[in-house]
């Protein structure tokens, strides 16, 4: 793999050489969310040109449509929920199709929010919510964005950590993020977990407040990824590498300065992209939170796109975690071959090549260790034991291990 000191310096030689992309024009799917920023910047501000690619952004209306696009070839790659890539891989909600996670796009920046009605009835803290969930005659109804999505997992983890069983003690349902505020207004849901700018939007609409950020569940948690089908990566490996380099370059750009973060916020707020007011987007992008409940702070673990490469590595342990939680909540009936699957999906080698070409430092391990809100440590070792280690779960037959192929 050729080393490039300056990506723009030797452009033509690079793209005409043996590493030249096999396919030059790519359709890139994304959802109107703050954490699609690196894709939007890469595609619109010329970051893919030095790597021989033209990126066409294709905004999607649902994760289902995004998934369909990847599977039928209309999309070459896309921003995906971490959980979406693995649910396709494992055949939850679609025929099982080998997937590839090319890189992490962001960490943090999602939120759990409750309705104004809840606030006005005195539910303004975790303790108050727990009391409500346990003693109220009406079951609370909480929304998230996709059955196997990251938001479902943060919501379930948060509830369970507080002793509330997410599948028994409350009703949970999928509501499209664009309709969350309407559902709050109509009293159909008592709260929701979704990506920004929807949390900030609910507060600004006077319809709710932020009870907990996703980073309070797991500081620097994995969130969205750049994903494609395995078939795409096998057919077009140079293209896949060039795509990673483009998005990596854009991710680095966004975090170079506060100025760059602000101009990114301005760009993505546009009607063709996230289509949300700058006032909903920018503050939380800069780590500044106002929760609608008289608290404001600068977060220690704000939304981040690069972190000098810490964010973008497709850690094996990140992919593994989602599989353990699918098992925990009964979405998977048996324990899969965790490491075999993760090693197939996480494109660690391709990512390393791309990072090296850009001079971006690599973490020393493909496993990273984190402490989650309930004190449990997740470091990627023994996923089967971890999946079965929770007090609250929905595992029907704990002895069913190893999914039959």
């Amino acid at each position: 793999m050729k080393q490039n000191d300056s990506p723009r310096g030797d452009t033509l030689a690079w793209i005409n050489g043996s590493d030249a992309p096999e396919k030059h024009i790519l359709n890139l799917g994304f959802m109107p969310l703050t954490d699609s920023a690196s894709l939007i910047v890469a595609a619109t501000q010329g970051f893919s040109q030095p790597y021989g690619l033209t990126l066409n952004l294709r905004r999607q209306q649902s994760w289902s449509a995004l998934r369909d696009g990847l599977l039928n070839g209309e999309l070459d790659a896309a921003q995906g929920l971490y959980g979406l890539a693995y649910s396709i891989q494992l055949g939850l909600g679609s025929a099982p199709t080998p997937m590839a996670v090319l890189m992490g796009l962001n960490q943090n920046g999602q939120s759990i929010n409750l309705s104004q009605a809840m606030l006005e009835s005195g539910v303004n803290s975790s303790q108050a919510l727990i009391a409500q969930a346990k003693h109220k005659s009406r079951k609370l109804c909480l929304a998230h964005t996709f059955p196997t999505g990251t938001h479902a997992m943060w919501l379930y983890y948060w509830l369970a950590a507080h002793g509330i069983h997410p599948l028994k003690d409350v009703d949970t349902r999928v509501v499209p993020p664009s309709l969350m505020v309407e559902h709050l207004r109509a009293g159909r849901i008592d709260g929701f977990c979704a990506g920004e700018p929807w949390g900030a939007h609910a507060i600004q609409s006077g319809m709710g407040f932020t009870l907990a950020t996703s980073q309070s569940v797991w500081p620097d948690h994995p969130e969205k990824v750049l994903c494609a089908t395995q078939r795409f990566v096998e057919q077009y490996p140079n293209t896949a590498r060039a795509l990673i380099m483009s998005i990596l370059d854009a991710s680095r750009f966004i975090e170079e300065s506060e100025d760059n973060r602000c101009s990114t916020a301005q760009l993505i707020s546009g009607a063709d992209y996230v289509n949300a007011p700058l006032t909903s987007l920018q503050p939380r992008m800069l780590g500044n939170y106002v929760d609608g409940c008289d608290h404001d702070w600068h977060d220690a673990h704000p939304l981040r796109f690069h972190g000098n490469g810490e964010v973008n590595m497709p850690y094996l342990s990140d992919g593994l975690w989602f599989m353990t939680q699918f098992r925990r909540w009964g979405l998977l009936r048996e324990d899969p071959d965790y490491f075999v699957v993760a090693k197939q999906v996480q494109q660690v080698d391709l990512y390393k090549q791309a990072a090296n070409a850009l001079g971006i430092s690599l973490p020393t391990s493909m496993l990273r260790s984190s402490t989650l809100m309930d004190g449990k440590i997740w470091d990627g070792t023994n996923p089967t034991a971890y999946a079965h280690s929770f007090d609250l779960h929905a595992i029907a037959d704990p002895r069913a291990t190893r999914q039959a192929n």
Binding site: T54, S62, V174
Partner: protein, 192 residues
């Protein structure tokens, strides 16, 4: 007689299919509105087929309906390319997503998709044409040209010119290539 639930929650107005489907001999339930309680509706209507705009955000709610139904007597699933690829192509071209209850033959879906395709095919064609046009632009050359012009106009180096263009593009929520076209057009208008 097949029972079809039409989810009419987007501008495409899938509900327009109702008349044609009735004439084709299907039983049709038309559910309109933006905040339909989909799971409850599917449970009470007990349809054989559910049709919804492929662009509807409600598709993610349907995802949950399908997942929850897998242990029930009549699981529902998105109609996918496991079946006849010809029918699948037709489904995509119609811009309508079909969810089908287990046991209903996919061949019976063909007649339904024929109706959807006739109704919505032109919308899809327009979108395909738009995308095809887009792919012919050579952005890199336009950006390089504009950069060269800007460097002369402002007596600055390439890096400065690039930064200027990018700042402009981002603040106006435009693509870099759009700003490049503006610079080129301006230069042509003003002459040498």
């Amino acid at each position: 007689m097949l029972r079809i639930l039409l989810i009419n929650d987007t501008v495409k107005k899938v509900g327009k299919l109702k008349q044609a489907l009735l004439e084709a001999g299907f039983e049709v339930i038309d559910e309109s509105g933006l905040t339909i309680d989909l799971p409850a509706r599917v449970q009470s209507a007990k349809p054989d087929v559910i049709l919804i705009d492929s662009d509807s955000p409600g598709r993610d709610v349907m995802e949950q309906v399908c997942l929850f139904s897998r242990d029930l007597p009549h699981p529902i699933a998105l109609f996918t390319d496991e079946q006849d690829p010809g029918i699948m192509r037709q489904a995509i071209q119609s811009g309508v997503s079909a969810y089908i209850v287990e046991g209903v033959e996919s061949s019976r879906l063909k007649a339904i998709l024929d109706v959807a395709m006739v109704r919505f095919e032109s919308d899809q064609k327009l979108r395909a044409e738009l995308h095809a046009r887009e792919q012919q632009l050579s952005e890199r050359k336009r950006v390089e040209k504009a950069k060269g012009l800007l460097m002369k106009m402002k007596s600055c180096d390439e890096s400065e010119a690039h930064t200027l263009m990018r700042r402009q593009a981002m603040s106006r929520q435009q693509k870099l290539v759009q700003v490049a076209e503006q610079i080129i057009a301006m230069h042509e208008m003003l002459g040498e």
